[in-house]
Symmetry: C2
Subunit: 478 residues, 2 copies
């Protein structure tokens, strides 16, 4: 196991430096690589395969809920971006501008899309005429660009991959229902597939999307206690519809403005997986999202029949599990460490003695527990263990969140907790942005959301002492 | 059928103006829409669904042949684009330049990727060290941008969707084998799935990709006799490897430069489908690629039980075919025309009398032939008809190509044919670019390719009279 130790030494321990641990893992697990393009990353095959699994699941859910995919241009003329006042104020400072086509200077600058509300609205103005044209339920898979000052792989990059849903509805009620439906799709996906518990809630006005009436969010807690906003869903009312002159004839033959939503998740979810489940040996992937669920490692593979038998087992398992085999000439110990680093949920070891006994060794990535299993009952056993890993990862993450969730009633309490710990801090709030800013200034925490599941932890706002309007979760965020 | 006629009147007849017919079809079949972004189009749900089917088939083939997907940045620093001389000369005149991030002027301009050889090479230089790292077989699905002067939906747009494969190999032989393998994947896809016959061949030096040693192509003939380059595969030798300093230690512990390929197809394939199979009633989709294979239209749907029965039939068919139903309050005639316009391969009509007789009417889109079919044998019959449509579309397209393929021995013959007809003109060629340019000037045709299946149509080059080196197919191209 010497090789194994050496490999593990090559990443920083979480407790020593969590940020460094994170960048070591994304690099060593070959999820991504840096490029010479400022703030942009390269998604390597293993990282991209996780994104493909995310896409596959969510795309099916979007279609089940009636959405259709489209593709809009990647550039937005400056005049179009400026049509909605709040929106342009929010995004103009962080867009990349195209000013030349070939050697010719353009008459109007175009920005690389930071998000596509304006393009969808321009199109909707052309194709929506009657209530019969509603709802319009469109989604787009693409990359967007936001010129970030400081970047971190997956969490904050100048370019990132995402999906953006953009929908139009006859009524405000229908549109709000849509934002809730899609937030639930995201929450279910995070909890059931990624094994990441999330808090569903509403953003404060300060934290909402530029141009939205309301932003809903799912907030996850990372292993270090910091928050990660993992998916958002926005209700726009008819603000953009007015700005873009989108009108439809209603059932009573009257002209009306439709009500709009948008919602999105990004490759940031891969960052959430890493920071929720990873450990000092590297990545830990939930079985439902893992590109490889079982890796077969032949032991003493130079002995006759070992590689053949291991290949036979691998091929047999492929019918039920995402399985791969490593018959390269590296030592088994090196391979063990390699696939631990890559977070493969289950390792299957098979050597000459195992073959004699018609058995193999299964080693779980999450607990590193080792069991001997008869080859006759392999499928049953693997199914059981993978289900147990999936459940255990969720449980561990939930425990971490519960252990790091605090309740505070006074400003001093908040400050004391925030000084000592990362984590969620629940407090009441009066609803004023001044108190929100004060908390940031004094305790270094920002509002994560007003959870849908409200509790009453006190009567008044801990900052100003006025009557409280809602419970807020505060935290330090990525 | 009055409604039907009216609908058909709304598109220009092919014989009257093929270009106008084409743009009418893409618009009326709701494949795409124009945007306010110069030269960029919006892919609408129906058009995007065809692209998703193309992706699904090809992505599976790429993976079967050992390729992995990755994602590279969408921007390329000017210095990186300039590393390979021929490549930058080919692309620099037609790229969009990003010069500002937010309000800050960038120190180095970045172009929106027109193709990603340079980015892949930069990454390969980092990750390729030994022969053990080879081959690298990567692919990327993304959009690219080329600042075109004149644009046409799907055929030539400033931004388009595509896939770009980029591979690195130990030897020239292996790399050339890869270019042939992928050209064959494209050719099989076009012929078997899109029902488009293609000619496989090599491009002349004049027509090859900027920076490539050799470009291989599949050329399809459209209904009007013009050519469409439908997919290409490039062999680069080790030119980029030298320019980007990509080296590996070979099996004898010597440093070597790897050999490279790239290959791609684009949303242009949707243009090929339209112009190969379409007719005066609109789009005609091959069953294997159609987003909807069977559309169920209830007749006299206000009568009791009709919508229920039609819905039951639709749901039953969904198990085996991509089926949809239209129960909107439009007249049946309007619906017939609508789904003919959209090229749905098979229409199923069901009215009260049919229900009484336990039958329905099936109408093929390609021949408009109508048959009565018992509901008991529906699946068998639909399977048969769809297979027959697929085959018939390929046969019709092949006949069109054969009817419009000419052979010429003298320059006068070439000129005479090209003046009278669109089509493929087969001639011998000496290999000199001067003769190629002369043909363009005199007869208005460009070289499409030197087919792999060579024939000897004469002894000498029809332009200069020197001994011929190869047979070339010439034509007018989109």
């Amino acid at each position: 196991m010497a090789d194994n130790k050496k490999m593990v030494d090559s990443i920083t321990a979480m407790d020593v430096d969590f940020a460094k641990w994170y960048t070591d893992v994304v690099k060593k697990a070959e999820l991504c690589d840096y490029s010479s393009v400022r703030g942009c990353m390269i998604l390597r095959p293993y990282g991209y395969a996780i994104w493909e699994n995310i896409q596959k699941y969510l795309d099916a859910k979007f279609k089940e809920t009636g959405h259709e995919n489209v593709y809009m241009p990647m550039l937005i003329p400056e005049g179009l971006l400026q049509k909605e006042k709040d929106h342009v104020e929010g995004f103009a400072p962080e867009v990349a501008w195209v000013t030349h086509g070939g050697s010719e200077k353009l008459q109007e600058r175009l920005c690389v899309r930071p998000t596509s509300e304006t393009l969808f609205c321009e199109h909707y103005a052309n194709i929506i005429n009657s209530y019969r044209d509603l709802p319009k339920l469109y989604n787009q898979w693409c990359s967007v660009m936001r010129w970030e000052k400081t970047t971190r792989p997956f969490l904050r990059t100048s370019e990132f991959l995402w999906q953006e849903g953009h929908t139009m509805h006859e009524t405000a009620e229908e549109a709000i229902e849509e934002t809730e439906r899609m937030l639930n799709v995201y929450a279910d996906f995070c909890e059931k597939i990624l094994a990441i518990p999330v808090v569903k809630g509403k953003k404060t006005d300060k934290e909402k999307f530029a141009g939205a009436e309301a932003t809903y969010t799912i907030e996850a807690m990372m292993h270090d206690g910091k928050s990660l906003q993992s998916g958002t869903s926005h209700y726009f009312g008819d603000g953009f519809a007015h700005a873009f002159d989108i009108k439809y004839t209603d059932r009573n033959n009257k002209l009306q403005y439709p009500h709009q939503t948008s919602w999105g998740v990004t490759t940031r979810l891969i960052g959430a997986i890493i920071m929720t489940h990873g450990d000092d040996n590297g990545l830990v992937l939930p079985p439902y999202i893992a590109p490889v669920q079982v890796v077969v490692i032949p032991v003493q593979q130079q002995k006759e029949g070992v590689v053949e038998k291991a290949t036979e087992v691998c091929n047999r398992l492929k019918a039920n599990f995402k399985t791969s085999i490593d018959t390269s000439d590296h030592m088994p110990g090196w391979k063990f460490a390699e696939y631990e680093m890559k977070g493969v949920p289950l390792r299957l070891e098979l050597g000459p003695k195992d073959i004699e006994k018609n058995q193999c060794v299964l080693v779980r990535r999450d607990t590193r527990e080792k069991v001997f299993v008869s080859l006759d009952e392999l499928e049953t056993k693997i199914t059981e263990i993978l289900a147990d890993i999936q459940e255990n990862l969720f449980k561990r993450a939930l425990e971490n969140r519960e252990n790091r969730t605090y309740t505070a009633v006074t400003l001093d309490e908040i400050k004391e907790i925030a000084d000592k710990h990362n984590g969620f801090i629940k407090t009441m709030w009066c609803g004023d942005v001044e108190c929100e800013e004060k908390l940031k200034e004094v305790a270094g925490v920002s509002s994560r959301c007003m959870p849908f599941a409200q509790e009453k932890v006190s009567e008044v706002c801990p900052v100003c002492g006025k009557p409280a309007k809602a419970m807020v979760i505060w935290g330090k965020a990525y």
